[in-house]
């Protein structure tokens, strides 16, 4: 059966399209894109009037926790959350147990994902064996099994020689290196941003410089090696400036920002609610402004969730003892709409780019991030007018660690199309 997405506002940053069009899908692929495509009996119609139709959204940074931490999340529950959040593909980080530093773990994740969800996964392999930051993992073996990038994510690579070799070797194999840029010695066990609020609350602070220093190192090594480096979750004004400056010097660096870093500030920590504890930590209003400017001018290429599920009992503890992170797959799109697009801080096209075209380009998914005749039909369909009320029971993740529960957020994902299959996610 064919699928017709009718009368939606098609926004495709790749081709520059932004107009009301019909899209006909057949055999998993885009068959035609036209002003008016006739309806017939053998066509399932999705009326997208008043909605945005975009290339399928890809999350460059999430934690699916399987294998090893199935109490927090499974590949099945994580991908369900991804689909409800409007993502047609996600990149799970390697900090599972065992760590994804071998073809065995990579294959397990890919096979499992295929069984439980239509959402595509593009795993990120470990940069070093067991993420210890010492010896490089077997990149070629993992690449052949299906990884698209390498990273030690939550365990920053402190040894610059290891980072240099990772950039050189990954580059040789056509793999991207993603770095959680943070000098862990400067972090010194901190649990929030270092600033006025940490001074008052007596919580140990993490200075913005911990991130800046490592971004400077990474961009210096990128220049030295000529290899691409992608900076995960940029959270401060200084970091945005550092990336912008490196770009000006033609250093091949790309960057992402998370919805919480453009939506929330460090003042929230005054509640001591551990759903405001993440790494990098929530920063100041100035930092939020700079991150948004970075997203607007393209210094920060994309929006990634850093979806980090943690079990209820793990988060229901003293603030400085709680694990970092919040779930984010189901709130990313509405948060971007409410905080970026509707207040006119970035254009709709830039937002779609940040969620689809840019991540696809960064990770090297040639056919994704675009709506093109003959290509696989992965689409994200959303509304700028509908509201998302995040209720606990609507959360598909096994973990419910979100500070947005109970909050109404403007914007809502209505449906996704993955490989030509329509998934209606919400009543109109």
């Amino acid at each position: 059966m064919k699928l017709l997405i009718k009368n939606g506002r098609v926004v495709d940053p790749f081709s520059g399209t932004d107009e009301t069009l019909d899209i006909l899908v057949s055999n998993g692929k885009v068959l035609s894109i036209n002003k008016k495509i006739a309806v017939s009996k053998d066509i399932e119609v999705f009326d997208a009037t008043g909605m945005i139709v975009a290339p399928g959204f890809i999350d460059l940074h999430c934690h699916l926790r399987e294998p090893g931490y199935e109490r927090k999340e499974t590949i099945e529950s994580g991908l369900a959350a991804a689909m409800y959040g409007g993502f047609t593909g996600v990149c799970p980080m390697p900090n599972t147990d065992p760590v994804n530093d071998s073809a065995g773990v990579t294959s397990f994740m890919i096979e499992k994902a295929k069984k439980v969800s239509p959402v595509r996964i593009y795993p990120v392999g470990a940069l070093s064996k067991e993420q210890k930051g010492e010896e490089l993992a077997n990149y070629a073996e993992m690449r052949d099994a299906g990884i698209w990038a390498v990273s030690d994510d939550g365990r920053p690579v402190m040894n610059s020689q290891v980072m240099r070799k990772a950039l050189e070797y990954a580059g040789s194999l056509g793999l991207l290196v993603i770095d959680h840029a943070e000098d862990i010695n400067l972090v010194a066990g901190g649990s929030m941003n270092e600033g006025e609020v940490s001074a008052r609350l007596g919580l140990r602070g993490i200075p913005a410089e911990a991130e800046l220093i490592q971004i400077r190192r990474d961009t210096a090594l990128s220049r030295l090696t000529g290899q691409r480096v992608h900076i995960a979750h940029v959270s401060t004004k200084y970091s945005v400036e550092a990336v912008r400056m490196a770009r000006k010097k033609k250093i091949p660096v790309t960057a992402e920002a998370t919805p919480h870093h453009f939506s929330l500030t460090e003042e929230m920590v005054e509640t001591f609610d551990t759903n405001y504890k993440m790494n990098p930590p929530l920063r100041t209003a100035d930092d939020v402004k700079a991150v948004i400017e970075g997203l607007s001018d393209g210094t920060i290429d994309c929006i990634a969730t850093d979806h980090a599920p943690h079990a209820w009992e793990e988060k229901m503890v003293e603030f400085d003892r709680a694990p970092n992170g919040i779930i984010g797959l189901q709130t990313a799109v509405p948060l971007a709409i409410e905080n970026l697009v509707l207040p006119d801080k970035i254009s709709l096209k830039r937002m779609v780019d940040a969620f689809s075209t840019a991540p696809a380009r960064i990770i090297g998914l040639g056919d994704k991030g675009r709506i093109e005749v003959g290509k696989e039909a992965d689409l994200t369909i959303f509304s700028l007018k509908k509201e998302t009320l995040l209720k606990k029971e609507d959360i598909k993740s096994l973990s419910k660690n979100s500070p947005f529960i109970g909050r109404k957020i403007k914007g809502a994902v209505m449906a996704v199309v993955i490989g030509g299959e329509l998934h209606r996610l919400r009543e109109k």
């Binding site: 006025e196 001074a199 609350l201 919580l203 602070g205």
Partner: protein
């Protein structure tokens, strides 16, 4: 006049609240001088002293305050508790909660832990020190002592010197003293002063001699021996040389200045023996006032009537 349900911190208390607590504490002080040092104000109330961190002074002071108000108290310390067996803080508290306590006096190493617990219990939570966040009853007993010696707070120049970063005493004192109209300077090596502390309305000074000049109150903080390993200062000897309060240095302060310390003191580290024991030292007055202040806080939070207390 109620001062709220919990006492999590000084932050949020008004000038009137603080004055009311101090006035009540002064009335309480007389009870400790009676031959029978007990009033029935909190008879039948159960107070749980939840100490997840070691404390002698603060815990004893609270216990005595509870006894003088006729409350029943239960001491719970982490070393003998289920915490050792891996129980979470919340589970520990929820278990105790079913024994129907009317208040918790809690000390814990994590900032915000008292606030966290206050969301899940029926009774009052009194913060007896949560990490480097707040230690409100310490600031109140300090204030009571300052008011006794100086008559008030308006325009007083107060110096707090030592490990500002790790001190809950400092934060509660800053909130209190600023609210009451005093000028506060914090001093110490920059390794032990958190950036942005000036945004709390205090002056920051790293030169101790300069900091001491003309101060009406000099409050020295305990230097914890284990900090040395974290490069906060190279040695005890060097600390004493640069930031130890000596008789010679104290001459820089105002003529009638007083010396304070929340204890326990390290003689020869942050303060010389002579200074600890000198006429200007009010360190033991602070300890004495601690009982009165804690009686006042327990009494006000747990809703006793004014008449009962003065009985």
């Amino acid at each position: 006049m109620k001062i709220g349900k919990h006492l999590i911190g000084i932050r949020g208390l008004s000038k009137a609240d603080i004055t009311h607590i101090l006035d009540t504490a002064e009335k309480m002080k007389e009870i400790s001088d009676r031959p029978i040092k007990k009033v029935p104000a909190l008879r039948g109330k159960l107070i749980v002293n939840l100490f997840f961190e070691n404390s002698t002074r603060t815990r004893s002071s609270f216990e005595i305050a509870e006894k003088r108000l006729s409350a029943d108290s239960l001491n719970f310390s982490a070393s003998t508790s289920a915490v050792q067996k891996g129980e979470t803080l919340l589970d520990t508290v929820l278990n105790i909660e079913r024994m129907q306590p009317d208040a918790y006096v809690m000390r814990h190493a994590s900032p915000g832990s008292c606030k966290f617990i206050s969301n899940y219990v029926k009774g009052s939570v009194i913060n007896a020190g949560d990490g480097a966040h707040e230690h409100p009853t310490q600031a109140l007993l300090d204030a009571m002592t300052i008011r006794e010696k100086k008559g008030g707070f308006e325009g007083l120049d107060i110096l707090i010197c030592g490990d500002i970063t790790h001190s809950r005493v400092v934060r509660s004192n800053i909130h209190l003293l600023k609210t009451m109209g005093a000028n506060v300077t914090v001093a110490g090596p920059a390794t032990m002063i958190p950036p942005h502390i000036d945004k709390m309305g205090v002056k920051v000074e790293t030169n101790f001699d300069r900091a001491l000049k003309g101060k009406d109150v000099v409050m020295m903080l305990r230097i914890q021996l284990e900090r040395q390993t974290k490069n906060l200062f190279p040695s005890m000897k060097e600390y004493y040389l640069t930031y130890g309060l000596t008789e010679e240095r104290f001459k820089l302060a105002a003529k009638d200045a007083i010396v304070m310390h929340p204890g326990p003191i390290n003689r020869g580290v942050e303060i010389s023996s002579e200074m600890a024991d000198c006429r200007e030292s009010v360190i033991l007055d602070q300890v004495e006032n601690g009982v009165s202040v804690r009686m006042a806080v327990l009494y006000l939070l747990m809703g006793g009537g004014e008449d009962e207390a003065s009985n």
